[in-house]
């Protein structure tokens, strides 16, 4: 998993590439730390270039959502396709992460 953070006037965009799985635990936490160091009002996770997310990956989205609630910014997820979209739908996390 790789990610790039773009912050334009407090609206952040995180573009992910690669798989988001259990083994990305450490990089994902680093990402959340990077986000927490920026002043943002919203953040969108762009999953267009993600091929695969496992259940641990979904758990990391939930952690991100909690951080968003605590730090008072809004988390959205976009661009999920194929397996990633199915996983989000199957677990209804697409609804949870949409607000």
């Amino acid at each position: 998993m790789d990610y790039k953070i773009k912050n334009e006037g407090g609206k952040a965009q995180v573009v992910f590439t690669g798989d988001i799985t259990f083994s990305e635990n450490v990089s994902f936490r680093q990402l959340l730390k990077d986000i927490s160091e920026q002043k943002i009002t919203s953040c969108n996770f762009d999953l267009t270039a993600v091929d695969m997310v496992d259940s641990a990956g979904l758990g990391m989205f939930l952690i991100a959502r909690e951080q968003a609630d605590t730090a008072d910014w809004k988390l959205t997820v976009s661009g999920a396709q194929g397996h990633v979209a199915s996983m989000l739908k199957l677990t209804k996390l697409s609804d949870l992460l949409a607000g």
Partner: protein
């Protein structure tokens, strides 16, 4: 902070105590050299120093006295230092024993040969005492650190094996499965393998009143010790809900209510629970995000809707029951996500569509009762021996129907 430093100090003190108590074997055919090296090390604080006059004696003493390090002369009559190195390195017991070689002539060729025969390090003669002390100390420290790390690793591995065995004991006992099979006249075909780490898969079945049976599969997110411990938590919690076992949605709701406050953030269980009336085929089920179970027959595969918020995330997940019917020739097949997510030999993942195709193909063949083992044989053909995640696959097969 202070306590961290003092902990570190204690660790260092322990290490240094081991270093200075180390058994050092000095091998040299010249008595003066033995004495000089011995005196240097003894002044440096080392207490256990032994001496060998030649290579032959050195090899015997290594066997009898099990030294922690050798300070070895190269040019000795009869058995030379080179031969001592070769002999020790060809014995698995001594392949990690530090050998510090000392020699007067020091051509580049000699250095190459010294390391080629297995020496750990090199000091040149005449001996520079501070250098000798520094090198001996460094190699002993390495040796003790590596030993303590490998002891620790071994202990952790033993503990993991024990934990895996304990986790295995959460699965239904053979007698329970037999009892459900006898009552339902169905065949339960199951497979479970923990990943190389600990994991969080679990399945179970039980008999229910009025010709019914209950079957669940669950997968706790992530793996490792945290997921495994949560498997025990879920298993123990489920045992408390005897009353609601006949109603899948209520069962999941009750389980969720207990687990939401106790699951750490980011952990949850995807789950599927079904109640089947084996006389009528009436099936009631509820899903919490588990991979979609399949209803399998020669005619093909249809998927059940296991959509639902995984257990342990939110207070009101709104689980609901869905009703269906198993025809007399249909099997119900539940599985964990590793089957669709594990990388195939070509690097891609099989995905749900690919896996459904496999199952449909296998279902057209005779001997449905071994459908799971056939599908898994195909899966394992393309997999390394150790899986990235737990694997669970459970099928309920009709005893009649389907080609035999």
């Amino acid at each position: 902070m202070t306590s961290e430093i003092s902990k570190k100090d204690t660790k260092n003190q322990d290490l240094m105590r081991s270093v200075y108590a180390a058994r050092i074997l000095i091998v040299d055919d010249m008595s003066l050299m033995r004495q000089m090296i011995g005196m240097c090390l003894s002044r440096g604080g080392y207490k256990n120093i032994m001496y060998a006059n030649d290579g032959d004696e050195a090899l015997k003493m290594v066997e009898d006295e099990t030294p922690d390090i050798l300070v070895l002369d190269l040019n000795m009559p009869r058995v030379s230092g080179y031969e001592v190195c070769r002999a020790l390195r060809s014995d698995p017991r001594y392949e990690d024993l530090p050998i510090l070689v000392q020699s007067a002539s020091e051509t580049p060729e000699e250095r190459v040969e010294v390391f080629a025969v297995g020496a750990t390090d090199f000091v040149s003669k005449p001996i520079n005492q501070p250098e000798l002390l520094a090198r001996v100390r460094m190699h002993l420290e390495n040796r003790f650190l590596i030993t303590s790390l490998s002891d620790f690793r071994k202990r952790m591995q033993d503990e993991l094996v024990m934990a895996r065995d304990m986790q295995q004991s959460l699965l239904p006992e053979a007698s329970t499965v037999k009892e459900v099979e006898r009552a339902s006249h169905m065949k339960i075909e199951s497979f479970y393998r923990a990943s190389f780490e600990l994991g969080g898969d679990l399945w179970g079945c039980w008999s229910l009143p009025d010709d019914r049976l209950g079957l669940f599969v669950l997968d706790i997110a992530g793996h490792g010790v945290g997921a495994a411990l949560n498997t025990f938590r879920v298993h123990a919690t489920m045992a408390r809900f005897n009353r609601t076992r006949v109603d899948p949605a209520r069962f999941l709701t009750e389980l969720n209510a207990v687990l939401v406050p106790s699951f750490p953030l980011g952990q949850f269980a995807t789950m599927f629970y079904a109640v089947l009336n084996y006389k009528t085929g009436h099936l009631v089920y509820s899903g919490a995000g588990a991979p979609r179970p399949m209803v399998v027959s020669e005619r093909g595969v249809r998927l059940l809707d296991s959509t639902g918020v995984p257990v342990g995330i939110i207070k009101k997940p709104d689980y609901f029951n869905i009703e269906d019917k198993l025809e007399p020739d249909e099997s119900l097949f539940c599985y964990s996500d590793v089957l669709i997510e594990a990388p195939q030999p070509d690097g891609t993942m099989l995905g749900e569509d690919g896996f459904v195709d496999w199952v449909a193909e296998e279902a057209r063949k005779p001997d449905r009762k071994h459908l799971v083992s056939r599908v898994l044989r195909r899966f394992f053909d393309g997999q390394p021996a150790s899986l990235p995640d737990d694997l669970t696959a459970v099928a309920l097969h009709p005893n009649k129907g389907g080609k035999e």
